[in-house]
């Protein structure tokens, strides 16, 4: 009896609420007849639960745990699907309808934006846009000066002039190509236990002392940048812009690399995250191109691997979330809600524990413990154990992060991951080098 009673009353309540909402929304619609959007979320709140957004991007950005938390917080479904940037570009061009939100690395965006398959983001709809770090939003460093423009500085590809433009704007506008999410400074990883001496220059990558014990990443556009950093540090070559080499510069770089390869400098060229981890952990190489989480993975096996900042600076990279052109109506509103959730702090804290920075550091820091903020952002020694996002211990109390604070690391970017104008020629020459 009691259950029956509560059921009926439940139905009654639901009926009233629904009616109320309908009335309310009708009134709102009437009131906001012209400006439309204002009343809309009230009606849409009814069926926003049915919305599913497919987010596609690289594994270090599109993470199932984040999508799950977002789905729980927002009430609609985010489906996470990983695809490396190259695969994502292909998908964007050939099957845009299978993606709703694309996580683009800025260098990938430089290519993909021209396809017109993405729509710009109205920055006025992103609440935290004003709190976003100037590194991303304005292309300015901590001291207010311009950041290095070698390569794809995020600012160069962050804005567009209008809703349909396929070009990038010179300065900031209200139309953003993507909403910046995470970024970091990359450098070389090395085995401190095997090298046993201080290393502070990119030139060490090509030092004959490490013959047969070095590796480069086999992603042509990034591998050639690491090589250029090292060649320039050795004084062999001087580039006007490492991020946009001329044919002649590409030729010289490839020639130098081929000579090094023939002399047996390289142990391998790795293509995937796990390859780089295994090369380092198995002692096949002692110094190589590496991503930050790969260093963490080697470290967590109890091996003394260091992500060594070099005096010539870091190679920066970053990612942003883009909205696909086909999103509209309810789905588009949901996508904006997701964007806003994304920079509200939980995700920023999650990726901070992987060693990445959030585009809105303020909210990310608010979701970290003071010990974590000290370790990840301020470069201070940890006051207690540091754990990765999944709870595994990755550094002991008393240790501090390689490379120091956020300002020291990001303030010292020498170039950015990029696609060159001579991209096609470069890939041809890279194939030449690998097959030599």
């Amino acid at each position: 009896m009691s259950t029956k009673g509560s059921k009926t009353s439940g139905v009654g309540r639901a009926g009233i609420t629904r009616r109320d909402i309908l009335k309310g929304s009708a009134a709102a619609l009437g009131a906001a007849a012209g400006s439309g959007v204002i009343g809309a979320p009230v009606i849409w709140a009814q069926n926003i639960k049915d919305v599913t957004l497919n987010q596609v991007g690289p594994s270090y950005s599109v993470i199932a745990d984040i999508a799950q938390k977002a789905s729980a917080d927002l009430g609609f479904k985010i489906v996470a699907q990983t695809a490396e940037t190259t695969a994502l570009m292909a998908k964007t061009v050939s099957q845009p309808e299978t993606i709703d939100i694309a996580d683009y690395e800025f260098w990938g965006l430089q290519k993909a934006w021209r396809s017109g398959k993405l729509q710009p983001i109205d920055v006025t709809k992103v609440k935290e846009w004003s709190k976003m770090t100037p590194l991303m939003r304005d292309g300015k460093s901590f001291d207010g000066k311009d950041m290095s423009r070698q390569g794809t500085l995020p600012f160069k590809v962050l804005y567009t002039e209008s809703a349909d433009s396929k070009e990038f704007a010179k300065g900031a506008t209200n139309f953003a190509t993507v909403m910046p999410t995470i970024f970091n400074a990359d450098t070389l990883g090395l085995r401190a236990d095997l090298i046993k001496r201080p290393v502070d220059s990119w030139a060490e990558l090509f030092n004959p002392e490490f013959k047969g014990k070095t590796a480069l990443v086999n992603i042509p556009s990034i591998g050639i940048m690491d090589a250029a950093m090292a060649l320039e540090a050795r004084g062999d070559l001087k580039y006007a812009d490492k991020g946009n080499m001329t044919r002649e510069e590409i030729d010289k770089t490839i020639e130098a690399l081929t000579a090094l390869k023939k002399a047996g400098q390289f142990r391998a060229f790795w293509s995937t995250f796990d390859e780089s981890v295994n090369l380092m952990a198995a002692g096949e190489v002692v110094i190589q191109s590496m991503w930050s989480p790969a260093v963490t993975a080697v470290k967590s096996r109890g091996i003394d691997c260091v992500y060594q900042g070099m005096k010539q600076g870091y190679r920066g990279w970053g990612l942003g979330m883009g909205l696909m052109r086909h999103l509209e109506g309810l789905k588009l509103e949901a996508a904006y809600e997701y964007l806003n959730w994304y920079v509200s702090g939980w995700q920023g804290a999650f990726i901070a524990r992987q060693g990445y920075y959030s585009s809105v550091p303020e909210t990310a820091k608010a979701n970290l413990t003071p010990n974590e903020v000290g370790y990840w952002y301020d470069g201070k020694p940890a006051s207690e154990e540091i754990k990765d996002p999944y709870g595994a211990v990755m550094d002991k109390a008393g240790n501090s992060r390689d490379g120091g604070s956020f300002e020291q690391r990001m303030g010292n970017i020498a170039c950015w991951n990029t696609v060159m104008d001579e991209d096609r020629y470069m890939i041809q020459r890279w194939n030449d080098f690998v097959s030599s």
């Binding site: 190259t86 695969a87 570009m89 292909a90 061009v93 290519k111 993909a112 021209r114 396809s115 047969g212 590796a215 086999n218 992603i219 042509p220 556009s221 390869k261 390289f266 142990r267 391998a268 060229f269 790795w270 293509s271 390859e275 295994n278 090369l279 198995a282 002692g283 096949e284 696609v419 991209d423 096609r424 890939i427 041809q428 890279w430 194939n431 030449d432 690998v434 097959s435 030599s436």
Partner: protein
Amino acid sequence: MSGRSSGSSSPVAPYLQVAPLAIVMIAMVGIPLATVVLLSFWESDGISIYPAFTLANYREVLTSPVTLSLFLKTLQYAAITLVCTALIGFTCSYFLVFHVRDLKWQIGLFLLCTIPFWTSNIIRMVSWIPFLGREGLFNGFLVQMGLTSAPLDVLLYSDFAVILTYVHLYTLFMIVPVFNSMAKIDPNLVEAARDAGARPWQILCYVIIPLTKTGLALGTIFVVTLVMGDFFVVRVMSGGQSASVVSAMKNEIDQLYYPQASAMAVLLIMVVLLMVSAVLRIVDIRSELAR
């Protein structure tokens, strides 16, 4: 009545009989292949592909010195792998057919050859890495036995590692057809040869090898096409230090240069077709199979 169904009145029948295979082949092979050929004449700017007719992709592929070195490298892999698999495949089959006379044992040992194939290709390949590595089992053994003072680098991330893996992965594709054609050899022929005074090597050269030709030819086709079309083994086992035709293609595909990759693919198909037709010219597989 029976004459009607099998004879003159239904000229459509053979077409109907051929239709299922034809449809599958056209859908699964014909259309994709035509697309690749078509694409190889189109233009691309690294993000979009424009329908056009240009020979630029072929010009680029054919004039680039990389293409030649890639093909030579791939052919070199194919040739060495072929020789190794043929020697191993022939020896194994010979042993199984002529030394193991008991059928049960023959089948049992033959199945033994297939055991490694119960796991995936990738696992079998990757398992070589901890074995051959600088701090791997084999190097550890060599150093401990005092056979070398320092670990041998050439064992892993080298051409040696690539070919070793190919031989390991593809030998069965040689054993099966060779075993099959060898098992068909009438033992009386060998006996007759011996009665006629032939020496063991003469029996091998003039009786067994000619009669095993079909198997060797089939095995060659399998092994060569598998090696020519591979990019994963080369990439992983050479540690990215060597490239094959397909791995170079993969680099281009990754950067969305589909037309260039298609032109390369068409070239590869032509080379492989030439090789297969050369094999078929030497050995008439159809008539031998019908034997």
